[in-house]
């Protein structure tokens, strides 16, 4: 593919992506009505930095700071909030296209263009930012940027990006396992680089601290979020769908430990496989680790598998066998979004969970088999 064609394609897809999002720009979802607009109003009424100290939302303060900045701009709140997320959709598309271009496959530019197009036009991403004004696109884009920077051996930038992602939303932690895998497999950056993560989070919290919040505000928000709901299931159709009344106070930590065990074993498998890890492989690991978090961690909202849904699009472009699971995953999530926010006909969450679990088991068996198959049968 010629360079000119590639860039024309990017421009056209960007415009199409914006048009798709613009169709829902006036749509007010439940979360917008109940939370975002109320927070915006509260920040606007206070009218100064001090509003951050009185911020009533359960989102992190850096996001609230971004909302506060928006109150000073001459745009309608609904458009301003949605545009913030939409801008990061472009970043997600760009980063994923760059990752795909780096993979050793035929027609890298064509693949990158298709990936970009999928991200820009995928209904999940369109609804998330353009219709529901959610911030999942923000942290996901920053986490992807972090992954990309570490892949390109720019660990400081990578850690700063990851810090920004974490500062925006705790779900960015779903990208931590892939960073651990990259650290262990590539051995290109030091554990000392991790210091940049808390530093970045703290820097982003400076406006809130100046406004009067405590120095530990970032950590406090995380801990508050972790004990917010009484049950394990919270609308994302994962394994906990089948145990909806399971009490969080008993099984929350167990679920976290179980997820940690799965991720640890997977990391060990990846490291011990002696595979010559390519960018495409790292993408596969990223999909699996992000999805594992969404499938087993407690209290997952219907939007929390956003990162895996984004990544599986890129993997599906590179690997035809991933296309079917990618379609199932996207359609399942679409139904979740639809029945949660857009008056879609109701489908049993048990069925949706079965679809997601099916995809997860398929991905797991495919990945683990591949890793075990690549293992060197060396004599110890």
């Amino acid at each position: 593919m010629k360079k000119k064609t590639f860039w024309y394609g990017i421009i056209i897809l960007s415009v199409v992506g914006m048009l798709l999002r613009w169709t829902g720009i006036r749509f007010e979802g439940v979360d917008y009505q109940m939370c975002l607009s109320a927070w915006y109003r509260q920040l606007k009424e206070a009218g100064s930095l001090k509003a951050l100290a009185e911020f009533e939302g359960n989102y992190n303060l850096p996001y609230a700071t971004a909302l506060l900045v928006l109150t000073y701009l001459p745009v309608e709140p609904i458009i301003g909030i949605k545009m913030l997320s939409i801008i990061f959709d472009y970043l997600s598309g760009g980063v994923l296209a760059a990752v795909v271009m780096k993979c050793e496959a035929k027609n890298p530019k064509r693949n990158a263009l298709i990936t970009y197009g999928l991200v820009m036009c995928c209904p999940i991403m369109v609804i998330n930012s353009g219709y529901l004004a959610q911030s999942d696109g923000i942290y996901a884009a920053l986490a992807l940027l972090s992954f990309w920077c570490v892949l390109r051996d720019k660990p400081i930038k990578g850690m700063v990006a990851f810090g920004c992602a974490l500062a925006m939303k705790l779900q960015a932690v779903f990208a931590a396992p892939i960073l651990a895998i990259l650290y262990w497999c590539r051995k290109k950056f030091s554990a000392l680089h991790l210091v940049w993560i808390p530093v970045t989070i703290q820097v982003l919290c400076i406006p809130a601290i100046i406004a009067g919040c405590g120095v530990d505000i970032a950590i406090r928000v995380y801990t508050q979020l972790m004990g917010e709901y009484p049950f394990m299931y919270y609308f994302y159709p994962n394994v906990w769908t089948y145990f909806q009344d399971m009490p969080y106070y008993v099984f929350g930590k167990i679920a976290i430990a179980f997820t940690f065990v799965l991720l640890l074993l997977y990391c060990v498998l990846v490291v011990q496989s002696r595979r010559a890890h390519r960018t495409e492989d790292y993408l596969e690991y990223f999909v699996w680790t992000a999805m594992t978090c969404a499938m087993f961690l407690p209290c997952m909202h219907e939007r929390y598998n956003y990162m895996a849904e984004l990544l599986i699009l890129a993997l599906a472009v590179l690997r035809p066998r991933m296309r079917f699971p990618a379609v199932v995953l996207i359609l399942t999530s679409l139904q979740c979004y639809g029945q949660g926010f857009l008056n879609f006909p109701y489908v049993s969450p048990y069925l949706l969970a079965a679809c997601n679990i099916g995809v997860y088991v398929w991905l797991s068996l495919d990945s683990v088999r591949g890793l075990l198959g690549d293992m060197v049968y060396d004599k110890d």
Partner: protein, 318 residues
């Protein structure tokens, strides 16, 4: 990357199996501790030896003994089940290791990783965890004893077979008589262990029957050996149960009587459902082992685990 980090990573990579296994053991312990105060809605039935109960006498003896050490019997039962969980995991690894050893060849890192996955699977399989540490059922104790018996039997027999092969090459040794004695002792020990296990949880007899049938089907034992082994294990279990003060009724009651009411099942669906719950632990455990040994596909083992987990979850009221 700093020098210290590189050295540390090299050390970890060298001993990764051991480090991860130790870490998983610690984490499994903590996870079991976390659920110690949780009790299911039906737990009262399992600690109250009411008239209609269908638990074995050996089980109630254990409950009685535990009440001397623990103020709340449920806690005692959960800790017992938790300890047995570690036993089950260790014995599963040992059994598979013995099997791999029988097939010859040195242990590769692939084998070690697979054994680590098996160990982790046994410790963290939701079905196994729910049954013991959450529901306070004794299945894991029974299965730990059964697997221990199998390990003892197989370990001694394999060593004996190896020695015999070596003797056929060299001159016959005088220790043959002594070795025969060891094998006999191992067989008796295995029968005792299995017997106690089945006496504690009579449903585990199904696992023993299936195992013996499997051996007979694959011509690993003759019909006579099959009958002797099954009779020995069942007889030992019945005697053990009898010593604890129970009759044949308390040993076979689970087959026909409802565990809560002690009455004969009203309908077949109820009966099937309860049999699935009673046998779920064994089914989950052995499907995992079968998948590990490539007898069934992994996807099937995962599906079995999920079904059993959902069954247990639904009974626990989730």
């Amino acid at each position: 990357m700093t020098k210290i980090e590189k050295k540390l990573i090299t050390f970890v990579e060298k001993n990764i199996i051991l480090i991860v296994a130790l870490f998983l053991t610690g984490l499994a312990f903590l996870v079991r501790r976390q659920s110690i105060w949780y009790h299911s809605q039906d737990y009262i039935y399992y600690f109250d030896s009411h008239e209609g109960n269908i638990q074995s006498a050996a089980y109630y003896l254990v409950v009685r003994l535990l009440s001397y050490w623990f103020d709340i019997p449920m806690h005692g039962m959960k800790w017992l089940a938790a300890v047995a969980d570690f036993g089950v995991a260790a014995f599963c690894v040992l059994l598979c290791r013995q099997k791999m050893g029988m097939q010859g060849g040195a242990f590769t890192s692939y084998d070690k990783i697979k054994l680590l996955l098996l160990y982790a699977g046994c410790l963290f399989a939701p079905a196994l965890y729910l049954r013991g540490s959450v529901w306070a059922q004794i299945d894991s104790v029974a299965f730990a004893l059964l697997l221990g018996a199998l390990c003892l039997y197989r370990g001694v027999i394999c060593r004996h077979a190896g020695n015999q092969a070596a003797e056929s090459q060299d001159a016959p040794k005088q220790s043959a008589q002594w070795e025969k004695g060891v094998v006999t002792a191992a067989k008796v020990g295995a029968v005792l262990l299995a017997g106690v296990g089945i006496a504690l949880y009579p449903c585990a007899i199904v696992a023993a029957v299936v195992y013996f049938c499997y051996g007979y089907y694959h011509k690993r034992c003759s019909g006579k050996q099959f009958a002797i082994a099954l009779t020995a294990v069942t007889g030992c279990a019945l005697v053990c149960n009898g010593i604890c003060g129970g009759g044949v009724q308390s040993f076979f009651g689970w087959m026909t009587y409802h565990p809560y009411t002690g009455e004969i099942y009203d309908n077949a669906a109820d009966w099937l459902w309860n049999l699935l719950i009673l046998g779920g632990y064994g089914l989950a455990l052995f499907s995992g082992l079968a998948a590990f040994r490539k007898k069934i596909p992994y996807a099937l083992a995962v599906a079995v685990q999920m079904v059993i987990t959902v069954c247990y979850g639904s009974v626990l009221g989730w």
